[in-house]
Amino acid sequence: MEREPGMSPPVSSPSSTDEARTAGKRRPWGLITSLALLLLLFLAYTLEAFTLPWAAHNGYIGAGQFPRIIGCAGVILTALALVLSFRSGAKGEAGEAVPAERLRLGHPAVAITLASVLLVALLEVLGGLIAGVAFLCVCLTILNRGRPVTNGVIALGFMGLSYVLMHTLLNAPWPTGVLGI
């Protein structure tokens, strides 16, 4: 296939690239969704910016000047990017920026994300030490399967070191939880 100037070679293997190109219309839905969300955010930002004063009481630059400029520019550019994304799909070009490995519940990235959310929720209840050990045990069980002893040692060792370093030696803020550790 002839390449237009500026067109980058695909990252995927030749067979999957041909598959993508012969598949017909295929829009980059992930990118489109991201841009749509961004557009909504910029719209909300701009609306809020217009509630701020353009000029201060003494006539100088007000709190709203820069945000309004930023918001309007953001809305315009994001809308443009959204339109271009739709058009790229209409031309039948390949989709996502990276050949997406479909995310499923057991996917490592998803597992760590969900575990992290749980960690934050329980951090100030269980305390950093216990919550951290539990987090590592769960994540390592999923990511490093079949090595429970190794995983346990890593979890306890890493959290122990972190606790001593940050809480004891550096006296940095540390979530102690209801047990006070």
């Binding site: 100088y60 994001t78 990017a81 799909g89 760590i112 590592l136 390592l140």
Partner: protein, 548 residues
């Protein structure tokens, strides 16, 4: 000459057994503190400050200063090895430092970063000795108009790191500017705080940086099924792969020299700081490089230049502190507390009334840099072997470190939640071709630029001619104009050279090489996609097709 003899006297003050012990302790502690995400130099100094109460003032300030530049290097270690910047000043080190580690070159990367930091620190100390007095006089004449103009030059760094997808890069810049407007502004107006007291100071940059670059990178590596096993090379001082090659060293002379000077003079400017210095240096190195397309993929100049600038800026930040009593950065503000604790008032009289204190401090910075270099040579193999830990074990540990590091900043669970949110945003940015680097630079530069511009308008009562009526502003404008012209010439020459190189390669490969992308030689800091089998970062992305 008088300054050099004073420096020699200061050296004799610094090099005593007691001072050397506390210097070593400070450097070691600083490295450990700097390596922990969220605990940067300022927090490190604040933590150690109470320990120094009972010490002799000279010994105490030597130890605190050692923590300062030890922490600067500590942040580099995690930036290179696990792509988690220890603090905002280490963000740029992730652009090329971590790709080097992924290529199995963590040892050379850390050694060159240490060497660059040492040389820059040495240059900084010499420049302090020679230029402290005239520089302080000049710095005192720099006001918001000049600071605004200098910050504008940092916007050039944004252009350089926009990446291949310029439109998406610009959107990231606007998002960064928007985030920078959050909080209470100059007039006391609440902007985008949504009634939350915790947002009155805006979102802490460290939280964003740890999220986007730390957690975001780990999630992205897992998403793309990144290498489950680390590099197989074991690092040892005796191993050849531990040491930089001749090419690494030859490529680094220029970046270290430029970074040292640029970083020092940037650090002198109050409010500029090591973060700005490192961004400026990266932009400069990429612009003058013969191979700008290598930046973002493990280019040694992309690491050593900013590292040198970072360290030199920490030396430069001492100038306004010692000579004017004005802390040039958050870290030097904490150092100022140390001065006051010992009953010393930094300012024009400090160097005259307490020369052994001031020059002892300056001399200790050189000794501390030597110590840092020696410690690192032996410690780097230990650190570099961390890069061999498989991703399946490294990822959850790094995420956990980011969580506790963020919590250590203000003890705020909300900030931890924000950090994770930015981690997911960082993941999405990498998947869809946005530029995390442009986002972070824009947050820093946008907030500073707005503040400086508004202060300028207040001073001038809304009259924009202040920019060319003040002599200091005219000087800065002149330097900027010369810099812009030089940059345009250099970039144009790079484009021509790159296009010629690609034509030659295409001819010799029988026409099977991809054509030069539009804007070739201009900018590409695409940290958004993994390397392909051909070693290219290019992906089939809707926005890579420039001719629409």
């Amino acid at each position: 000459m008088e300054s050099l003899s004073l420096l020699w006297d200061g050296m004799q003050t610094a090099v005593t057994p007691t001072n050397l012990v506390f210097l070593a302790l400070g450097v070691l502690l600083g490295m450990v503190v700097g390596a922990v995400p969220g605990i940067g130099p300022s927090a490190g100094i604040a933590i150690v400050l109470p320990v120094t109460v009972g010490l002799d003032p000279v010994t105490g300030i030597i130890m605190l200063a050692a923590v300062y530049y030890g922490a600067m290097y500590g942040g580099t270690i995690t930036s290179v090895l696990v792509n988690v910047p220890g603090d905002a000043g280490s963000v740029v080190s992730t652009f090329d430092g971590h790709p080097l580690a992924r290529m199995g070159r963590a040892g050379p990367a850390l050694v060159m970063a240490a060497a660059g930091s040492f040389i820059a620190g040495t240059v900084g100390v010499i420049l302090i000795a020679l230029t402290a007095r005239p520089l302080s006089a000049m710095a005192s004449r720099l006001g918001p108009p000049e600071i605004f103009l200098i910050i504008i030059s940092a916007l050039l760094a944004i252009v350089v790191v926009l990446g291949r997808h310029k439109l998406l890069g610009l959107i990231c810049v606007l998002v960064g500017f928007g985030i920078g407007t959050m909080g209470i502004d100059l007039t006391g107006q609440h902007r985008f705080t949504f009634g939350q007291p915790s947002l009155e100071g805006g979102i802490d940059l460290v939280v964003i940086v740890i999220g986007v670059f730390g957690v975001g990178e780990m999630l992205y590596s897992l998403y793309t099924g990144g290498s489950a096993d680390g590099p197989s090379t074991r690092f040892s001082i005796r191993s050849r792969s531990f040491w930089p090659t001749r090419t690494d060293i030859n490529e680094s002379y220029g970046p270290i020299g430029r970074g040292s000077v640029l970083g020092f003079f940037t650090g002198v400017i109050p409010g500029a700081g090591a973060t700005l210095a490192s961004f400026l240096s990266y932009g400069l190195e990429k612009s003058v490089s013969k191979r700008p397309q290598d930046f973002g993929k493990g280019a040694m100049p992309g690491l050593v230049g900013p590292e040198s600038a970072n360290n030199a800026a920490s030396a430069g930040a001492m100038v306004p502190l010692l000579t004017l009593g004005i802390p040039g950065s958050g870290t030097t503000a904490v150092l100022l507390v140390g001065f006051l604790m010992w009953g010393l008032q930094p300012g024009p009289l400090l160097m005259e009334q307490n020369p052994e204190f001031a020059w002892g401090l300056i001399a200790s910075m050189y000794v501390g840099n030597v110590m840092l270099l020696l410690l690192n040579v032996f410690a780097i193999p230990v650190f570099a072997n961390i890069a061999r830990v498989p991703l399946t074990i490294m990822a959850p540990c790094v995420v956990l470190l980011c969580v506790f590091g963020t919590y250590a900043v203000h003890g705020s669970l909300m900030e931890v939640g924000l950090m994770l949110l930015f981690g997911l945003i960082g993941l999405a940015m990498r998947i869809y071709g946005f530029s995390p680097a442009a986002l972070v630079i824009a947050i820093v530069v946008g907030a500073l630029a707005e503040q400086a511009f508004r202060q300028t308008m207040i001073i001038s009562r809304g009259d924009i001619s202040i920019f060319w009526e003040r002599s200091a502003s005219l000087w800065v404008l002149g330097i900027l104009a010369v810099g812009l012209v030089l940059l345009a010439v250099i970039v144009r020459r790079q484009r021509i050279r790159l296009a010629a190189t690609l034509r030659t390669q295409s001819a010799s490969a029988g026409g099977h090489v991809a054509p030069a992308p539009a804007g070739a030689g201009e900018a590409e800091n695409d940290t958004t996609a993994p390397p392909t089998a051909t070693g290219s970062y290019d992906v089939d992305h809707p926005f890579t097709q420039e001719n629409r």
